[in-house]
């Protein structure tokens, strides 16, 4: 078997890879539950380079069929049905379904442009009812979060680590966008790296994915963390799907070992640069069409813009809460009519609510379509504003008509 890839440093150069008979044989046969040994070895090396964690220090790696597979098993390893857990909000919708299937009591911890609001988390934990078991873990996407695009700052991360020690919970660090960071060069280290400086190590379960850098269709992801947890996850695999595809793993291994760590880093940097340019294009169009009509924080990693549609004119008495409007309704009605779709923010909240936020992916669309999409969205917001203004002005109108019946001729005209 043979395949061609673009070289990691230049997209014009092609490399042809040929699996040896031995490699092909391994790729076609059943293999170990926790992954191909050589791929795990490569990953150990990568994590050592990227996060300063050394092999043999109480942690290990398991290869999964995508990081979703590992997150699912990790969550199942750590919690019982009905347990309370801490979840950042808004949160990756794909894990919400995992938590829901376990009937988890999801305690939402707010996030903002700097990632998780650790002060809010502290508040929650300090006011935790003494009769109630403490949360088992906290789930977070620390880089270029799906959906908010935000990256947690170093201070926030350190706070969360301290809290996890104080209140004894695990941190599930779901980090598929780690390599898609394109912000300032002093990037914050991962939780997995930072916990090395804690008095005790072993409360972080980290998830990596090759879906955003190599191929989402290959389905290869990794879990790294305390040995006893990963052992339980492997037992889960044995019962449910035996192992991730040897074939996918072998293809990935061939590319990664040919590139080496430097080649991989160069490739990841090129991918990040690609998304950075996409972000810039998208943001420029946002500024052109949505300034004053939406609010956003520019993402520094990942592929998502999370923005609030200002469906009411600002300065109006309609402030926070439901009155800010509901993006879901707008998307399904006005936006659809005008030919633009973004993902309503409600899908990303653990507990149902109305929200004016939407998520837009900037990974796929070319520049002209981005421009057109946001132009249309502008029209949608303007139309929604006009409607809401009308709706608001029609409320007093009822009163005025009442008044009018008492004293005819006053004010009815003006309120239109």
């Amino acid at each position: 078997m043979q395949f061609n890839i673009r070289n990691s440093t230049s997209s014009d150069e092609e490399l042809t890879m040929q699996l040896t008979d031995e490699e092909l044989h391994v790729g076609l046969q059943y293999s170990l539950t926790n992954g191909l040994p050589a791929l795990r070895e490569w990953m150990f090396g990568l994590l050592e380079r990227a996060h300063g964690r050394h092999k043999g220090e109480g942690w290990t790696i398991t290869v999964g069929a995508g990081s979703q597979d590992m997150i699912f098993k990790g969550v199942n390893a750590l919690m019982n049905p009905g347990d309370a857990i801490l979840v950042e909000a808004p949160v990756y919708a794909g894990t919400l379904t995992i938590f829901q299937a376990l009937d988890a009591e999801m305690i939402e911890v707010e996030t903002d442009g700097h990632g998780i609001c650790s002060d809010k988390m502290r508040e929650i934990l300090e006011n935790w009812p003494s009769s109630k078991p403490k949360p088992k873990f906290f789930y977070t996407v620390p880089y270029g979060s799906n959906p908010t695009g935000s990256t947690a700052t170093l201070e926030r991360r350190l706070d969360v680590l301290a809290l996890s020690r104080e209140h004894d919970f695990f941190i599930l660090e779901d980090d598929p966008y780690y390599n898609l960071y394109f912000g300032p060069s002093n990037r914050p280290p991962s939780y997995f790296a930072l916990e090395r400086d804690q008095p005790e190590v072993g409360r972080v379960l980290r998830f990596d994915s090759l879906s955003k850098t190599m191929s989402s269709g290959l389905r290869v992801g990794f879990a790294s963390g305390p040995e006893p947890i990963l052992k339980v996850m492997d037992l889960h695999s044995m019962a449910v799907n035996l192992q991730p595809s040897s074939f996918s793993q072998m293809i990935v291994l061939k590319v990664l070992s040919t590139w080496g760590y430097d080649g991989f880093t160069a490739h990841a940097a090129r991918v990040a640069q690609f998304y950075r340019e996409k972000r810039d294009v998208f943001e420029a169009a946002m500024q052109r069409h949505l300034a004053g009509l939406a609010e956003w924080v520019s993402p520094e990693a990942g592929m998502f813009f999370w923005f609030k549609l200002l469906l009411n004119e600002q300065g109006s008495e309609h402030g926070e809460g439901e009155a800010e409007g509901d993006s879901e309704y707008i998307i399904r009605t006005t936006a659809l009519e005008r030919g633009v779709l973004a993902l309503p923010g409600a899908a990303f909240y653990p507990n149902p609510r109305k929200t004016p936020y939407v998520r837009a992916s900037f990974s796929l669309l070319p520049e002209d379509q981005v421009d057109e999409a946001l132009r249309r969205l502008r029209a949608v917001v303007l139309e929604a504003r006009a409607t809401s203004k009308q709706a608001r002005s029609s409320e007093p109108e009822v009163m005025l008509t009442c008044l009018a019946s008492a004293s005819p001729g006053v004010g009815t005209q003006e309120s239109k």
């Binding site: 395949f3 389905r219 799907n241 779709l341 409600a346 992916s361």
Partner: protein, 435 residues
């Protein structure tokens, strides 16, 4: 006209977990993307142009002429599809191919109340099917001995495993009937029966036509779903014409929709590629897909794209020819193994020669006084010391217990190794007998 059971029929079969699963709110939006002219910012997919792969070429032996090689290339759109997230149930090209295969093999036509989902190996879809139907603590019918790989999933659900005996003709429908007739009034009836009808792992047995028909009749009478786990279907090498599958035979029934069938490419194309499929009633497959969406999103697109390009290049006839070559290969292996058994274990073990699959299941005649004996300690100690390993039968007993049986797998060893292995087993047994 096929009389398929109505959708409502299955709600009684769904587990609580399956019933509680809500469709993702996002999913409902995707159909809106299809509206002409709509620009979508929905999909959180990475951009495939950032992926390093540009083409994949595969060389395989021609199924009809092994001296020739076929080159298959996955590139362009097919590769792009293979590198990207894909549909939960599987790539549509592969799904289409499998539908065609099931029509040819089992006479089941598309649009008659059933469909297919691709899994990451058949284990993946078997597990999801079980989780979709069985609640913790439920009673489950399972042939005994049974494929050890499914036992942990039933155990994890704390199922009450009810063993159904098997013999050389496969599952004993008489045993099944008597279990069901004597089912305690107060106890909820079992919703599923798990069986491996061809070249069973571990017994190597293939269920006869009569047995299959009786089991199907019982499924109707006592209302349970047959989980037909059939990875060795294409590894049938008996002299007689093969028996139809449960999935095919249920067409003879007054109603259709009590068979959920599992196929695997593990024994015929590659086990490492991890592709299997479930075929059966739509509502059950729907529930399985919803589990997939939570647990692992999908089966890898690339392996599906590669498998499809190969299968498509072969065509159904080429595929058939290939499976015949594979089953002939195992038949020869079986003959070699049986030859060695006859030479060395006559009088020391009892067996029935398998007509499908890759396993010999035999009873060690350890004691002369008619006592059964226990293969486990012998295999783990004496046999191991003598340098031969087989699996003690106890690992295949759903409820555990002692047994004199062992499973030997004859798929990998060469003739000389087989000879030596069986010779060592002979010595082990003789020693145990104290000769």
């Amino acid at each position: 006209m096929v009389n398929s059971l109505p959708i409502e029929f299955y709600s009684a079969f769904l587990s609580d977990v399956a019933k509680e699963r809500k469709p993702s709110p996002i999913r409902g939006l995707y159909p809106l993307e299809l509206r002409p002219g709509v620009i979508s910012l929905l999909a959180g997919k990475p951009n495939a142009t950032t992926f390093p792969f540009t083409s994949v070429k595969l060389t395989s032996r021609s199924p009809t002429d092994p001296s020739k090689e076929i080159e298959t290339e996955v590139s362009g759109l097919a590769l792009a599809e293979g590198l990207q997230y894909g549909p939960t149930a599987g790539l549509s090209s592969l799904l289409e191919w499998v539908h065609g295969l099931q029509e040819r093999e089992h006479g089941r036509r598309k649009g008659e109340g059933w469909r297919v989902s691709i899994g990451s190996g058949s284990q993946d879809v078997i597990y999801k099917a079980v989780a979709t139907m069985v609640n913790p603590g439920d009673a489950v019918l399972i042939e005994c001995p049974a494929y050890a790989g499914v036992l942990p999933m039933f155990q994890a659900l704390h199922c009450d495993l009810t063993e159904v005996d098997t013999d050389a003709q496969g599952i004993k429908s008489s045993s099944l009937r008597s279990i069901l007739q004597n089912w305690p009034e107060s106890k909820p009836r079992p919703k599923v029966l798990y069986t491996v009808p061809y070249g069973c792992n571990p017994t190597g047995m293939t269920a006869t036509l009569d047995r299959r028909r009786e089991v199907l009749a019982l499924a109707r009478e006592y209302n349970f779903i047959i989980l037909e786990d059939d990875p060795y279907y294409f590894l049938y090498y008996g002299d007689a014409a093969r028996y139809p599958s449960y999935f095919a035979l249920e067409l003879e029934q007054a109603e259709v929709g009590r068979v959920l069938r599992f196929d695997s490419l593990s024994k015929i194309l590659s086990s490492g590629i991890r592709i299997g499929f479930a075929s059966g009633p739509e509502p059950l497959l729907q529930a399985i897909d919803m589990h997939t969406a939570v647990a692992n999103l999908q089966t890898p697109s690339l392996t599906q794209a590669i498998a499809f390009s190969l299968l498509d290049a072969w065509g159904y006839d080429g595929f058939k020819a290939h499976t015949e070559t594979v089953s002939r290969f195992y038949r020869e292996k079986r003959d070699v193994f049986e030859g060695a058994m006859r030479r060395h274990l006559t009088g020391l073990a009892e067996w029935t020669a398998p007509e499908a699959g890759m396993f010999f299941w035999f009873k060690l005649l350890l004691a002369k006084d008619g006592e059964e004996g226990d293969s486990e300690s012998l295999i783990r100690t004496k046999a191991y010391e003598r340098g031969v390993l087989a699996l003690p039968g106890t690992v295949f007993l759903p409820r555990g217990g002692k047994t004199a049986y062992v499973r030997a797998s004859f798929s990998l060893l060469g003739e000389e190794e087989v000879e030596e292995a069986v010779k060592r087993l002979r010595e082990t047994i003789l020693e145990a007998r104290g000769v």
